[in-house]
Amino acid sequence: MAYTEEELKKELETKEYEYGFYTDIESDTFPIGLNEEIVIAISKKKEEPEWMTLWRLEAFRIWKSMEEPTWANVHYDKPDFQNISYYSAPKSADPNKTLDDVDPDLLEMYRKLGISVDEQKKLQNVAVDIVVDSVSVATTFKKTLAEKGIIFMPISEAIKEHPELVKKYMGTVVPQKDNFYAALNSAVFTDGSFCYIPKGVRCPMELSTYFRINQAGTGQFERTLLIADEDSYVSYLEGCTAPSRDENQLHAAVVELIALDGAEIKYSTVQNWFPGNKEGKGGVFNFVTKRAICEKNAKVSWTQVETGSAVTWKYPSCILKGDNSIGEFYSIAVTNNYQQADTGTKMVHLGKNTKSTIISKGISAGKSQNSYRGLVQVNSRADGARNFSQCDSLLMGNECGAHTFPYIEAKNKTAMIEHEATTSKIGEDQIFYCNQRGIPTEKAIALIVNGFSKEVLNKLPMEFAVEAQKLLEISLEGSVG
């Protein structure tokens, strides 16, 4: 979306969470609770082959034996997993329909979200897969992509149409038993995106998925599987929103990226789940497992702008398995009011001459808590591994917190690991300087924050960068008295 300055300004006048509407679409929702029958029912509903059903059941059994992790620096009332509906689909969704058949209410919802499934998007050269609640609604551009041999479709369809690829790769980067939420996701995931870029193909457009939770009392468990075959390239965008609700909603996604020899994947996320209101009521619990595996000479860049969610637990990671592979993590995490974020990355150096870069920018305001947690691990065989980490925190006011937990495990003497960290506060003198030039305080803060985050914002595709900047401003409005 080409936001003009004027549009930008107009939108900035809205202070409340602007995606907080609820579209009344008839939903097909499962009863609450989780047991083997529900898992089987989900699989049946999706008309899945038997291997998939068995895979889910295995995950469910693992999950039952696991405990919710408590090591993160976040505090919340644990969700009652038996009080959530694990499947909610807009009733009128039918994967075989063309866009013209899509429920007009649904399209209106997209319009409010500012995403267009229609011609506008074509002009932007972005192919979109939209996941509302649990079901992937429409994938645009399928045909253009198909000509290049690129597969981009809901994962539920991929399971049926490309079982060999799904079977080969699903769970190879994030196994079912990886962690509590990943296991849960593996058992009950209902949709998500699947993408395959063939050998040597450079994907001609940005691929994009938009996630949204609509129905009350539902969880969203989407699963993304992206495979970039040898020497291919793809840039993938992911956006998230949810309506404002009093109760907490659960989002537990799994994203698996596979970059084969010489491939490059850029994965960008702008996460704007409902953060809860000013008193800390409601908001989305965002417990996400994202991981990439890099084969020889491959490169994966994670870029994330995290402004939403009541609680965020998320560590997009890279396993640098192949020699000369590169992992990058660029992150902006904003917390305001009562938000809590524990986010960072893991860079696991297995191959020789592997390189990783971590740039993390945390911005805390209100009574929020913002933690960076990162692990840089160098395996004994990873000769010549290099890492550079930079963690900067910006504080606003006296009631918020910024924390940095960097872990380094180096088992190879040739490893070079650098870590830099800074903490700063927006100074009164900076604000006054801006004021004196005619810039009001709120705008001054936005300017300073954008400047602080610039290194990361620059990594986002243009269109996304504008949206992200706008989000930063919205999330911090009213944060300085």
């Binding site: 100074g427 900076q430 006054f432 004021n435 030039r437 005619g438 810039i439 705008k443 300017l447 400047g451």
Partner: protein, 250 residues
């Protein structure tokens, strides 16, 4: 244009300005001189509306309007500009972006649309030439890693961009070498008109050789103890401030 009446101001209950009276008309250049700690920078801050200073008595009027309840940004919109003695760093924000934001916020306050990019570009080109500023300089983070001279030159560039009615230059000459001083001074001279006014705060006569003031005021202990023409600055240069201190003590 700017009328200061019996102005008293304090910081942390310590009175710094103790009754300043000053009237500045359009087209005039006033120099304010005085020893360290006499209240020169405080006066500049108070005119700009810095709320670290409390005005306890008296008033500042701009074109007949009392500025007491006017916020710093509104004062800026009305045409008050302060060239800071110690310009502030804002990492990651380019000079261009900063100026664009400042100009558009001023326009917004006046109910105008944003300045079209084409006009903005033209203005930047024109003003950077005026101050002999390399365009590359404008893409750098505001004041970050700038030399003392670059910071001051950047302040005057901003002044040129914003075209204020009253410009207060707080020790703009400090940290400038002779070439930079000449460029900055010639910039200020070109920006001077019959419709605006300049207040120069300085320790030294040097700047006044380039920007010739109509009036010179000497500040001591929060009061103006002597006013005169440009020749007063020369006298101060020659005799120092001690004779004035003695004179006022009597």
């Amino acid at each position: 244009m700017l009328k200061i009446k019996d102005l008293h101001a304090s910081v942390d209950d310590k009175e710094i300005l103790r009754g300043i009276n000053l009237e500045i008309k359009a087209g005039e250049v006033h120099a304010i001189m005085g020893p360290n700690g006499s209240g020169k920078s405080t006066l500049a801050s108070v005119i700009a509306g810095n709320d670290n200073f409390e005005v306890t008595q008296g008033s500042v009027e701009l074109e007949g309007e009392d500025l007491e309840d006017v916020s710093p940004e509104e004062r800026a919109h009305k045409g008050v500009f302060l060239s800071f003695q110690y310009p502030i760093e804002i990492p990651g924000v380019s000079v261009t972006n900063f100026m664009k934001t400042a100009i558009n916020e001023s326009r917004k306050a006046k109910g105008l649309e944003d300045m079209p990019a084409k006009d903005m570009l033209k203005l930047i080109r024109e003003k950077s030439e005026l101050l002999e500023i390399d365009r590359k300089f404008l893409s750098r983070s505001l004041n970050e890693g700038f030399s003392g001279g670059e910071k001051k030159r950047n302040e005057i560039f901003q002044m040129a961009m914003l075209e204020p009615k009253v410009a207060i230059l707080d020790e703009t000459d400090s940290g400038l070498d002779i070439d930079a001083l000449r460029i900055v001074a010639s910039g200020v001279n070109k920006l001077k008109s019959k419709d605006n006014a300049v207040i120069l705060i300085t320790h030294y006569q040097r700047l006044l050789e380039y920007i010739v003031p109509d009036f010179v005021h000497v500040l001591h202990n929060g009061k103006i103890v002597k006013s005169g023409g440009k020749e007063l600055a020369l006298e101060l240069e020659e005799k120092g401030y001690d004779w004035l201190k003695q004179e006022t003590a009597v």
